[in-house]
Symmetry: C2
Subunit: 309 residues, 2 copies
């Protein structure tokens, strides 16, 4: 497919997202739909993510993994705003009759993740579905000063945390229980590091890497009205480019920062046991570019061949 | 079925609710799962409700009605806490290909209700499902002093707003578009009245009537450790008992209050254009009783025959 796909979305999803913009009127002091999480005023930040059986997970994830991951994908969105999670609600739609063993294992994984991020589950709703498990978690958090994806500045450095492509590698491995599977099954977004970056005013813009750098950095650039030049040799992890940028499910952070902040960022990362890598720079190009490549990588990944499509 | 059913829940639902109690640790200053909405501290209150196609609605509701009702059922939960809604998030799971006409009508109804209650939609998530539409709204609100269902006191009066059984009547009518259908399709829980009751300290306990008085008053009594004696001749609306107490979907409020508060409650109701009726009194019985009947009405309603089962 065309290289411009990096800045395109699924047209049905775009239609839905566009249709709900500003419903019910604007929030006071808030920033609405369009960032990783919504800022609802007073530093309160909220996000919601749904996982659908057969769409967001398959046999590679145990019920407990699904429970963990449902929390992780939501706190990753808050991390990208520099927010710490405060409370969560769960909406579970489950086929009848209830599979109590599956549910009990799911709850164990959910609880492990909630405790890991010190996040109380305060409420929820349980409903019946004819076919498929649908699990929605809503997480509210607070940030002293929320970091948006739309505020990157020209000549800022572009950073990522952790390694890229670990979930892709795990997904493509045929050995069940391989060590790498941990990243696919139990992602650990660097929430505390994100919050301290925001508190120290070190990140100018931030996004979480849930759909892969190709798609997520393109979103950050589009929102900020800037481009970027990324050095493929600096992408941390040294995996094939398709795995590093096109698969997604990294649940790492991508952020921009003034080049004068580099030392402070590195020492902050070391304090939190997080690795950080400078992978490029923000430019006035129209779109992000990959140095030495004639086009930005495709943002979709064929889950069967392991190739970008 | 036995008369004790009024205090029983679906065993699978009870299993699920019990399994998620206190997950992730307790909230500071909060009241967790078990009331209409969760109190998360600082007067913040949150609720979440899911509507599943084929389970929570059928051909009687248009797409726009579903949008309205998704908001109404959530703000009804907040009304029962004496809270005013502040913001909402929507998680929509939709079969592919997207039915854009259905979605556009749904959004119109959703927006009408959001504007009716001055509630901004701040965020959301859209996912694909293989089969069935699943729509989850999470609404956060604020109450100066949240009213729980567990704080009714001996000799308090029991009150309800509006009329009971209007949705039941509409459901059983065979004429499409009958005037009564409005109550089934576009419920209007008395949010502002509930908030002012709480602010004036007039309600000692409160619950919303989503599952019918038989089930919901039994819940309030169980949570408060009290009984009640209800006069069936005072149930407002004058519909058959099964419709009045066993169908549900009234989205009115049931609250308890000191008998000295009666005049203040009536003048407050008049100010908000809400009708209120004293239907009984809180007692030290083990369960609620219906005067002149040998048992509390069954809480389930056969949607085809119109009889309690």
């Amino acid at each position: 497919m065309a290289s411009r796909q990096a800045t395109e979305e699924d047209p049905d999803e775009a239609f839905v997202v566009q249709s709900v913009r500003d419903l019910g009127g604007a929030t006071e002091g808030g920033v609405g739909i369009g960032d990783d999480a919504a800022v609802v005023g007073g530093g309160d930040v909220v996000t919601t993510d749904t996982m659908v059986e057969g769409v967001h997970w398959d046999h590679r994830l145990s019920a407990a993994d699904v429970g963990w991951k449902l929390v992780a994908v939501n706190v990753s969105d808050l991390a990208a705003m520099g927010a710490r999670p405060r409370w969560a609600t769960l909406a579970a739609t489950l086929p009848a009759p209830l599979d109590r063993a599956w549910w009990t294992a799911f709850v164990a994984g959910l609880d492990a993740a909630l405790r890991h991020w010190r996040l109380p589950l305060v409420g929820g709703d349980t409903t019946r579905a004819p076919h498929t498990r649908v699990l929605t978690l809503t997480v509210a958090g607070r940030a002293a000063s929320p970091v948006l994806r739309s505020t990157a500045r020209l000549a800022d450095d572009v950073w990522v945390t952790g390694q890229l492509g670990r979930s892709a590698e795990a997904f493509l491995q045929t050995t069940p229980g391989a060590a790498a599977a941990r990243w696919l099954r139990r992602p650990e977004p660097p929430v505390e590091f994100g919050a301290t970056l925001a508190e120290a005013g070190l990140a100018t813009a931030m996004i979480d890497l849930s759909d892969g750098l190709a798609r997520d950095l393109a979103r950050l650039c589009r929102a900020s009205g800037v481009g970027a030049r990324i050095d493929p040799d600096r992408l941390p992890g040294g995996r094939p480019l398709a795995q590093s940028v096109a698969f997604g499910e990294d649940y790492e952070l991508c952020f921009t920062a003034d080049s004068a902040s580099a030392a402070a960022i590195c020492s902050n990362a070391a304090r939190h046991g997080v690795t950080v890598t400078r992978i490029g720079v923000i430019t006035q190009d129209a779109v992000p570019l990959l140095v030495g490549h004639d086009r930005w990588p495709a943002s979709r990944f064929d889950h069967f061949s392991g190739d970008p499509v």
